[in-house]
Amino acid sequence: CNFQPVYGPGGSGEIIRNQIRVADPASRLEFELVARLEDRLGTGSNYMLDYVIDRTTRNLAIDEDAVINRINLVGTLTFTVREAGTGRTVQTGEVSTFTSYATTESPVATESARRDAEDRLAIALADQVVTRLIAGAASWS
C-alpha cells in the first residue's frame, strides 16, 4: 500500500487541521486534554469533537505491609465528531490507556506524582484521538 504524507497535499491533515472545535472541559484532566488536542489540531469550527472520559484507578504492587506502591490511572475516552452545519456524525471511536505513578512516604510527592500521571493520561489519550482522526478523516466528506 502506498503511504502518503499526512500533512502533504491531499493528505488527511488538511481535513482536520484548524477545522475542529473540541468540547469545553469540565475537569482538570479534560482541561489538559483540550490543551493537547488544540496544540496538535489547531482550532476551528467546521467540526465539533465531543468526548466522554471514564476513568478508574487501580492499586498495584501491594507489598506485605499492605502498602500500595504503585497506582494506575486508567482512562477510556469515547469521542464523536460531528459536522458543525448539519450535525451529521462523521466519526465515532473509543481509545483507552493507563499511566502509572509511584507512591512515596511523602503525601506531597505522591500528590504531585498523581497530578503528573493525570497530565500524562490526558496527553496519551489526546494523541490516540489525533491518530484515530488522521486515520478516519478521509471518510468524513
Binding site: 500500500c1 487501580r58 498495584l60 501491594i62 506485605e64 503525601p107
Partner: protein, 687 residues
C-alpha cells in the same frame, strides 16, 4: 352525589333482559379511568351497579403495576371494589401472590386470604418455588406501596424456615422507604462471625441515614452512612464505630465525609474529611483503606482556556512506622493557568502562576522539620507549522520560582531560580488506507530540547520519582513537580506505527529513546532516563472491537534487560470478564526499592449456565513467591433471588495487621422494593 365517570364495556354480544341487567359475552373488556378488566362474560346489574364476572378474568389497575387474575369475581362498576375467588395478584410483573379470596376496596387496599407470595417462576416440572411466604392474610396498600403479612411463614424449596406473626415489606414499585435492606453474613478470623442488617431511614425527600449493626460474636460494630442532596450540591458521610480487644484502645472508629457545592460564577467547592482512630482499623474491618488520609477544602473552576484552584489540605499517613510529624502534612496551594493566543506571534501561550506552602509539625532542623513556602510561574509558548509533509513545532518556555525555607539550615532562607527552555520538534506522519478500509499510520518524530537552570536548588518536596512513557517522551520537562527541573541538551527520538481497522484489530506501537549531550545525573536507574542514552521505551496498545484491550509499556536497555514493564489486559465476552495486570520494576535504591517488584493481579468472572457465576481474584508477588490476596466468589441469580458467596484471604502483615480470611454471603429477594440494579433475570417455563 359524587359524579362517577361512566365505565366502557366492549364485547362480542350484549344481551339485556328486563330493564336492569345486561350480560356481555365474548372477549369482554371493561375500562374505567385507566383500569381494565378482561373476561369471558360479565353480567352488569344496573340496580346494584356491580358486575358479576365469569373467569378466567384479568383486572389491571390504572398504574399497570397490579394485575389480578381470577376465576370468578364480583366487582363494582368502577372496578374499585370487589371480591375475587381463587385469584392471583401480580405486582410489577415480579411478585405473585396467590390466594383463595382477594377483596379489593377503594382501588387501594387489597386483602389476600390464605395467600402465598413469591417472585419465583412456578412451572409444571418444578411446582414448588425456590422461596415463598405463606400468610393467613396479606394486605397490599397501593398508595403506601407496602405489603403487610399476618402469620407469615417463610419457606425455602417448600421447607418452612421461619415464622413471623407480623411482617411488613415494600412492594416492588417502592423506590425509597424506611425499612430493612438485604442482610449479609460475614465471617473473619479477626472480627468474628457477623450478621450485617442494614436499616434505611428516609429523612424527607433529600436525605437518608443507613445504620448497619454487625450482630455477632467477637467484635461489636455499627456502620453509619448519611446522604443529603442540597439545591446546589450534595453531601455524603460514612463511618463506623467498633469495640474489640484486638488492640489496646477499646473503641475504634473512622469517618469519611465529602461534599461538593456549586458556587456563583461557575466555581465549585469540594470538601473532604477523612479520620480514623488507629492505623490498622480500616484494613482489619475490610473498609476501604487508603495509604494516606486526605482532608481538604478546595475551590476550583475549569474553563476552556483557564483553570483556577485554591485548596488547603491536611494529610495523615497510615503507613506502618511513619511519623506524621516529619512529613509535610499541612499544604496550602493556589494556582491559575491561562491559555492565550497571542496576536503577533500566533501559536499558543500557556501562563501559569502558583503558590504553595508545606508545613511540618516537627521543628527539628533539616529534612524532618523543614517548612517551605514557594511562588513559581511559567510561560510556555509553542507554535506549529507545516512544511509540505513535515509538521514542525517551535517551543520556548521560562520557569521561575522563589522559595522560602524555614528550619533547614542546608538551604538558604530565600532562593531564586530561573529555567529557560527551547525546543524544536519535527514530525513526518505518513498514512495509507487499504481497499478494505484498514488504515496504517507511520510517524517518525524527532525533538531537540535545551534547558538550563540559573539560581540555587530549593529543597525537593515534590519531584522524587520520575516516570518515562510515550506521553512525556516529547515533553520539555519530565520531572513531576516543580522543585527539580530537567536540564541539559537532549534529543528525543521516536517512531510510532498504528494499524486501525474499525470494528476489527487496532494496533498501536510507539518506540522512543532520549540521547543527552552530557549526563547531569538527574535521574535514577529505575526511571530509565539515566545516562547519556536512556532506556528504550516501547508502548504497545492492542484492541479488538470492545472485547479485548491490551496495553503494555516497557523500558529496557540495548542488552534487553528490563528496567520496568507494565501490562494491563481487559478481555470480556458475553459469558466472561477478565481484568489482569502485571507489573515489574527493577530494584532501585533511588526510588527506595531495595529489591525488584513483580506482581500479577487477576480478577475474572465466568457465567456458568442456569444462573450461576463464578469469580476468581488474586494478587501474586513473584519476589516473595506468595499471594498477597486471593478470593473466590460464587453467585446465583434468577428472577426471584440474588445470592453471592465470597471467600477471600489477605496475607499482608504489619505491626498492626495479621493475615485474615473472610467469608461473605449476601442474599436478596427480588420483588420487594424497586431497584435490582440490573441483576434481574426473567425466566419462563420451558416445555
Amino acid at each position: 352525589a359524587q359524579t362517577t365517570a361512566p365505565a366502557t364495556l366492549i364485547a362480542d354480544n350484549i344481551r339485556f333482559n328486563g330493564s336492569t341487567s345486561v350480560t356481555a359475552r365474548g372477549a369482554v373488556e371493561v375500562f374505567f379511568e385507566g383500569s381494565r378488566l378482561r373476561a369471558e362474560s360479565i353480567t352488569y346489574d344496573g340496580s346494584t351497579d356491580n358486575l358479576r364476572v365469569q373467569g378466567p378474568l384479568t383486572l389491571v389497575d390504572e398504574s399497570g403495576n397490579a394485575v389480578f387474575v381470577a376465576d370468578f369475581a364480583e366487582l363494582s362498576a368502577d372496578l374499585q371494589n370487589g371480591v375475587l375467588q381463587s385469584a392471583r395478584l401480580v405486582l410489577d410483573r415480579q411478585l405473585q401472590i396467590a390466594a383463595t379470596e382477594i377483596v379489593h376496596t377503594d382501588g387501594r387496599y387489597t386483602q389476600l386470604y390464605q395467600a402465598v407470595a413469591s417472585s419465583c417462576e412456578v412451572c409444571f416440572d418444578h411446582p414448588t418455588p425456590l422461596w415463598e411466604i405463606r400468610a393467613r392474610r396479606i394486605i397490599h396498600d397501593a398508595e403506601e406501596q407496602q405489603l403487610y403479612f399476618e402469620n407469615a411463614q417463610f419457606r425455602v424449596l417448600g421447607v418452612p424456615v421461619f415464622f413471623l406473626p407480623r411482617m411488613r415489606m415494600p412492594d416492588p414499585t417502592l423506590e425509597r422507604a424506611t425499612g430493612f435492606l438485604a442482610p449479609s453474613v460475614s465471617a473473619d478470623d479477626l472480627t468474628g462471625t457477623q450478621l450485617l442488617v442494614p436499616y434505611f431511614i428516609e429523612l424527607g425527600d433529600h436525605a437518608d441515614i443507613t445504620v448497619t449493626p454487625w450482630i455477632g460474636v467477637g467484635t461489636q460494630t455499627v456502620e453509619l452512612r448519611y446522604r443529603q442532596a442540597i439545591r446546589n450540591g450534595e453531601l455524603e458521610a460514612e463511618g463506623a464505630v467498633s469495640w474489640d480487644d484486638l488492640t489496646n484502645n477499646a473503641t475504634r472508629a473512622y469517618l469519611f465525609a465529602d461534599a461538593s457545592f456549586e458556587l456563583p460564577r461557575a466555581f465549585t467547592l469540594d470538601l473532604q474529611l477523612q479520620a480514623v482512630s488507629d492505623r490498622g482499623y480500616l484494613t482489619t474491618y475490610g473498609f476501604n483503606d487508603p495509604d494516606t488520609l486526605e482532608s481538604y477544602a478546595r475551590v476550583s473552576r475549569v474553563r476552556r482556556d483557564e483553570y483556577v484552584e485554591a485548596s488547603g489540605t491536611l494529610y495523615e499517613s497510615l503507613r506502618d512506622g511513619v511519623d506524621n510529624d516529619t512529613l509535610p502534612t499541612r499544604v496550602a496551594h493556589a494556582e491559575i493557568t491561562r491559555r492565550i493566543t497571542p496576536d503577533l506571534i500566533g501559536g499558543t501561550l500557556t501562563a501559569t502562576l502558583e503558590g504553595t506552602g508545606f508545613y511540618r509539625y516537627s521543628t527539628i532542623d533539616g529534612d524532618d522539620g523543614r517548612d517551605v513556602f514557594r511562588v513559581t510561574g511559567a510561560l510556555d509558548w509553542r507554535r506549529s507549522q507545516t512544511f509540505g509533509g513535515l509538521m514542525a513545532t517551535f517551543e520556548g518556555a521560562l520557569h521561575g520560582g522563589v522559595y522560602n525555607t524555614q528550619q533547614d539550615a542546608t538551604f538558604g532562607s530565600t532562593v531564586y531560580r530561573l529555567t529557560p527552555y527551547s525546543a524544536v520538534e519535527l514530525r513526518y506522519p505518513m498514512q495509507a488506507t487499504t481497499a478494505t478500509g484498514v488504515s496504517h499510520l507511520i510517524e517518525p518524530i524527532a525533538q531537540l530540547v535545551w534547558s538550563n537552570t540559573f539560581g540555587d536548588a530549593p529543597p525537593n518536596e515534590d519531584s522524587f520519582i520520575v516516570e518515562f512513557d510515550e506521553a512525556n517522551l516529547f515533553s520539555l520537562d519530565r520531572l513531576p513537580g516543580s522543585d527539580r527541573r530537567e536540564t541539559g541538551t537532549r534529543a528525543n527520538i521516536g517512531l510510532s506505527y498504528s494499524r486501525i481497522a474499525p470494528g476489527g484489530w487496532t494496533v498501536g506501537v510507539g518506540a522512543g529513546v532520549v540521547l543527552r549531550r552530557e549526563d547531569e545525573g538527574q535521574f535514577t536507574e529505575g526511571s530509565g532516563l539515566n545516562g547519556l542514552q536512556s532506556d528504550f521505551l516501547m508502548a504497545t496498545h492492542l484492541s479488538f472491537s470492545d472485547q479485548l484491550s491490551v496495553a503494555n509499556r516497557s523500558l529496557f536497555d540495548s542488552a534487553l534487560n528490563f528496567t520496568s514493564s507494565e501490562l494491563s489486559l481487559a478481555w470480556s465476552g458475553d459469558r466472561h470478564e477478565v481484568i489482569s495486570t502485571y507489573t515489574f520494576l527493577e530494584a532501585d535504591l533511588g526510588e527506595l526499592r531495595a529489591d525488584p517488584l513483580a506482581e500479577l493481579a487477576f480478577d475474572g468472572e465466568y457465567a456458568l449456565n442456569s444462573g450461576w457465576d463464578a469469580g476468581l481474584n488474586f494478587r501474586y508477588d513473584f519476589m516473595d513467591n506468595e499471594a498477597t490476596r486471593a478470593g473466590v466468589t460464587l453467585g446465583y441469580r434468577n428472577e426471584c433471588l440474588d445470592m453471592e458467596f465470597s471467600v477471600s484471604r489477605r496475607y499482608t502483615t504489619s505491626s498492626t495487621l495479621e493475615p485474615a480470611t473472610s467469608f461473605g454471603l449476601t442474599v436478596s429477594l427480588a420483588g420487594f422494593g424497586a431497584g435490582r440494579e440490573g441483576r434481574s433475570v426473567s425466566r419462563s417455563c420451558r416445555g
